[in-house]
């Protein structure tokens, strides 16, 4: 009997095959973080020069922070895109019914299928920024990048639930893609990539407490601020991520089960 690992394997296979057949896309993934950094940098300097930005964001190492946070931001967008977009994309392609025809439980497929893509993207992006990081920071910088990558993977756990929750909403709605694209800037804003969270409106500050990316950003700030980050604050952040992960994934599991039933009832597959 097939299980979730088969779904993961299949999806990984198709992503790799896709990149193999679309090399241009593959290389553009390496360039992406640099474009992103440019944008974040430009936004950051709205405060004035780079020194001031460093001060504002409370970091001592702007280069590493900028690179890391751009990857964090992207990875959290990618996972929402990959998991929530999975249904949309496959519905549009007409592949969704055949995917659902796998003997694996439909809710499991919908949650797991977006994962490989969301993991591949930050890894490739990280590889893309390694040259820049080594240039600025040397080998320690590269090691820190690895640490950030680990935190990103951890941060994906709650984002997975978050994205699945969102996917189940998309599954039952008809007008789909607009919501997806309007969600991304919102996540970026509420996670404190562009601005310190403190300057956001009160309501957004409250919302940011439950946006997992915020904690990943915090963690990567920590990692890029000190030469050897203190364990305690980092651990606290990791706890927060884990709790959010549990909550979101439990919510998602029940939501997606319901969405699945509804979709199979109205005939939207």
């Amino acid at each position: 009997m097939a299980n979730w690992t088969d779904v993961f394997r299949a999806q990984l296979f198709s992503s790799i095959a896709w990149y193999k057949n679309n090399r241009f896309m593959f290389f553009s993934m390496f360039v992406w973080p640099y474009i992103m950094v440019g944008m974040i940098y430009a936004l950051g300097t709205i405060y004035g020069d780079i020194e001031q930005y460093t001060l504002q964001m409370g970091i001592s190492n702007p280069a590493l922070y900028l690179f890391a946070s751009s990857v964090v931001a992207m990875s959290s967008l990618f996972i929402v895109d990959a998991v929530a977009g999975f249904t949309l994309w496959n519905r549009w392609l007409g592949t969704l019914p055949y995917i659902i025809l796998s003997p694996v439980k439909t809710s499991v497929i919908l949650i797991v299928a977006g994962l490989p893509d969301s993991l591949i993207s930050p890894v490739i992006t990280m590889l893309g920024i390694v040259p820049a990081v080594i240039y600025y920071e040397g080998i320690i910088g590269a090691a820190k990048t690895l640490l950030v990558l680990l935190i990103i993977f951890l941060g994906m756990l709650p984002m997975l639930g978050f994205a699945s929750l969102f996917a189940s909403l998309l599954l039952v709605l008809k007008e789909e893609s607009n919501i997806l694209s309007s969600l991304s800037p919102f996540i970026l804003l509420a996670s404190g990539v562009f601005y310190p969270i403190e300057i956001l409106p009160r309501i957004l500050q409250a919302v940011s407490e439950v946006v997992p990316t915020r904690y990943v950003i915090d963690a990567s700030k920590l990692v890029s601020t000190y030469l050897l980050p203190e364990a305690r604050p980092l651990l606290l952040i990791i706890y927060a991520i884990a709790i959010l992960g549990g909550v979101y994934n439990l919510l998602a599991l029940s939501a997606i089960g319901r969405a699945e039933r509804r979709v199979k009832k109205v005939g939207a597959i």
Partner: protein, 355 residues
Amino acid sequence: MNRIKLIRVKLLASAINAERLVKRYITHLRKGIFKREKKIVEALKEVSFDVRYGEIMGLLGPNGAGKTTTVKILSTLLIPDGGRAIVAGYDVLEEPEKVRENIGVTLSVEKGFFWKLTGRENLKYFGMLKGLKGKELDKRVNQLLKELGLEELEASDKLCEEYSLGMKARLALSRALLTDPPVVILDEPTLGLDPPSARTIRTLLIDMAKTRGKGVLVTTHNMFEAELICDRVAIINEGVIVAIGTVPELKRYVSGKVSIEVVAGGLDLGHDPDLSKLGFTRDEVVGTIDTEEGRLRVKILCSPGEEEDMIAEVIRRIGAAGGKVHRVDILEPSLEDVFIALTSKREVGSHGKLD
């Protein structure tokens, strides 16, 4: 697939058993930007039939009859509002995963592949989703690519975006057969295909049922195909099964009748599918096939012995309408005659056209 399990399943039940399936869709008609009107479509009204192992069952019906709805319910993609379906020995509502493990399905053949992957890659992907892996998967994929002629067409390693419809249909069938499932459910697998592709697929379907003992359900609106490959045919119209049986059995519905086909020209009929301008009544004319460009092909059912009078009458009426009769044939009733006789009885005004 476990042989013993397969045999047990075969002894215990038919491949597919659908009992009084009911499905209603709620649609919203858009009336302006904000106004929407709810409308309930009764897609299936207590549909029952079964498919045995080793046979090809055809579900024959015009567009909108409920064929795809039936297929989706049987393959667990759609939850019925009433009734019960057992597929490969499992209830579609209670053990959908088990059902999916034991079926191969194609829906519309032109969609449903990753364009940027090759045919082989597509098959491997869907095979993995079914739990196949490693050498076994590669072997199976190669075998199917050969069997369906994709290898011969040099299409196996082409991107799917470059596939013709025929190639897509072949690939779709390969995907359905990846796990060598005991039950195969195909929704219009030869729709719009080039003759060689259609032939390859039909030959394979017959082989599936006859040599490999699978239960095959094929939907189609192609009479010719139904007559050619199906052991039994269920005729569905507007969500109701109107007849079920072998092709000879079905032909008994119009037994004792002869079918006259008349081809005429030079007529100005406009859009008049019931041919009222020619003074026919619905009961006499069972099939109008082609009223374009003043050309008329019409089929009339009548009792033996009456055919000469009927032919004379038709020639007279066509002459009176300013047309000219090109040809008259007396034919054995075909499945099409059965279909039209059965479905036009249900509702006057449906033109009995199958497209």
